[in-house]
Amino acid sequence: MRGIDLEVRRGEVFAFLGPNGAGKTTTVEILEGYRDRDGGEVTVLGEDPRRGARAWRERIGIVLQSCRLDPYLTVAESLSLFAGYYSRPRPVEEVIDAVGLEGKADTRTGKLSGGQQRRLDVGMALVGDPELLFLDEPTTGFDPKARRQAWEAIAALRDLGKTVFLTTHYMDEAQRLADRVAIIAGGEVVARGTPEDLGDRDAQPSRISYRRGGEEVSLETTTPARTLNELTAEALARGEELENLEVRRPSLEDVYLELTEPDAAEPQEAGPE
């Protein structure tokens, strides 16, 4: 880590986005109080996480990047076990509904699917009714359906007024869930902002592409409406169609790849950590 400067506001979903090995987990473990920092100042809910006492732990919930829950306890028992650690827990049934595990209360954890176990993990972080939640790569390895369900559960947390600190290496996850995003690469924050304006995305030119006479045509413009109008007017005048017409703003993914791998010509797939 080479100096991270972050501020997360109460009640927002903050996504910490970066490729594997960028330092996401190290940062989040410093915030959670698991790890000591070499220097600098860290304040979480008004306290230094390293000195965070029991009262501080009451106010935060943690979902680790990988944790296998006890396979011999049921969903309801796992939640009751954790509820007993907090002074003002939420009712277990309410938490089961909040993470979408209705009807699974008496199922042993070992018999749940990967996505269901992860949601139970989120539920165990929620059962103490914390103000702030840390979710470290909550959907890594999920199938599309399980991801969608997990996203709904996380979006519901914001509606409950919780602050969520989320790490992820999925751009779409940050785009879908986060109010604000910071991108980390090589131990540094390389960009921050809302998903919309990240990396001056809104000021960057749009790309218009189409096919004409079997040839791909592509052009960049900062005034897409005007350029498009001219192009279509010409085409209509000639009585032609613009095949495969597409107008694209740089996606968050484009910005992300550009920021995290400035020297790489080919974008690389993020592999499992």
Binding site: R57, I62, L64, C67, Y72, G84, M124
Partner: protein
């Protein structure tokens, strides 16, 4: 205290639902008692005029207590550590001591149950009288020994790098010591050099403390000299556990 009972209740649930834990700590000692006593045959007289079947009752009680404490704790803590559950628990307001105390309490409950269970089997199958008059001494020996072996088990987790390594390391240490300490083979059949060697390790002195408390006519019921050797091992385990115990997984 409420929190400790809460933790202990769930530790008990998990223990009794885990087939491997129940097999190795409850079933296996019983099977061993039946097999060893059957091989020994009826009415064979060993040292001090004690029947060998009688000898095996305190021997298997010793094995059961070590299995319920050191073996169970080392195995289950390494599995929970590598699964990430220990780290997960540390992120909650629950104090660390409650977690450890819950596990130790769980082991002692199982150890006391096994003392009762094996004693009952000894009475029913081999006519070994249950030493009711020595019950307080037995419980003192059990508690001191169980606490010591728990500390050794927790310290041992520091030497176990992964879940796969847990069973080989734990059994690799305990099985030879059971043989050398006269738990599996009556000690009058063992060379004296072997016994002298085993006396330096905790299982032999613990076995002798249990033996003296269990069978009348072997001098005082409380063998303080043997028990103190066990306690020294326990304190060493405690010091090492405090220094080297880890909550976070070794992997990654």
């Amino acid at each position: 205290m409420t929190l400790l009972l809460h933790q202990l209740r769930y530790d008990q649930k998990v223990f009794w639902r885990n087939p491997a834990a129940v097999f190795f700590t409850i079933m296996l000692p019983v099977v061993l008692l039946l097999i060893l006593a059957t091989i020994a045959g009826d009415k064979r007289i060993g040292k001090d005029g004690v029947e060998v079947t009688t000898y095996y009752v305190p021997a298997i009680i010793t094995l059961s207590i070590v299995a319920a404490t050191m073996q169970t704790l080392a195995m289950s803590l390494v599995i929970a550590r590598e699964d990430g559950r220990l780290k997960r628990g540390r992120g909650t307001p629950m104090p660390a001591w409650v977690f450890i105390a819950g596990r130790i309490g769980n082991s002692i409950v199982v150890a006391i149950l096994m003392l009762a269970f094996v004693s009952a089997l000894g009475r029913v199958f081999y006519g070994v009288p249950v030493p009711w008059s020595r019950a307080p001494d037995l419980l003192i020996v059990l508690t001191a020994g169980a606490a010591s072996f728990c500390c050794m088990g927790i310290a041992l987790t520091a030497l176990i790098p992964s879940q796969d390594a847990a069973a080989p390391i734990v059994n690799g240490l305990l099985l030879p010591l059971y043989f050398l300490s006269g738990v599996f083979v009556p000690d009058d059949e063992l060379p004296s050099g072997v016994i002298d060697f085993a006396n330096h390790f905790p299982i032999r002195p613990f076995f002798q403390a249990i033996y003296d408390a269990y069978l009348p006519g072997n001098g005082p019921a409380l063998a303080w000299d043997h028990l103190s050797v066990v306690a020294i091992w326990g304190v060493a385990g405690l010091v090492l556990a405090i220094r080297f115990f880890r909550w976070a997984p070794r992997r990654g």
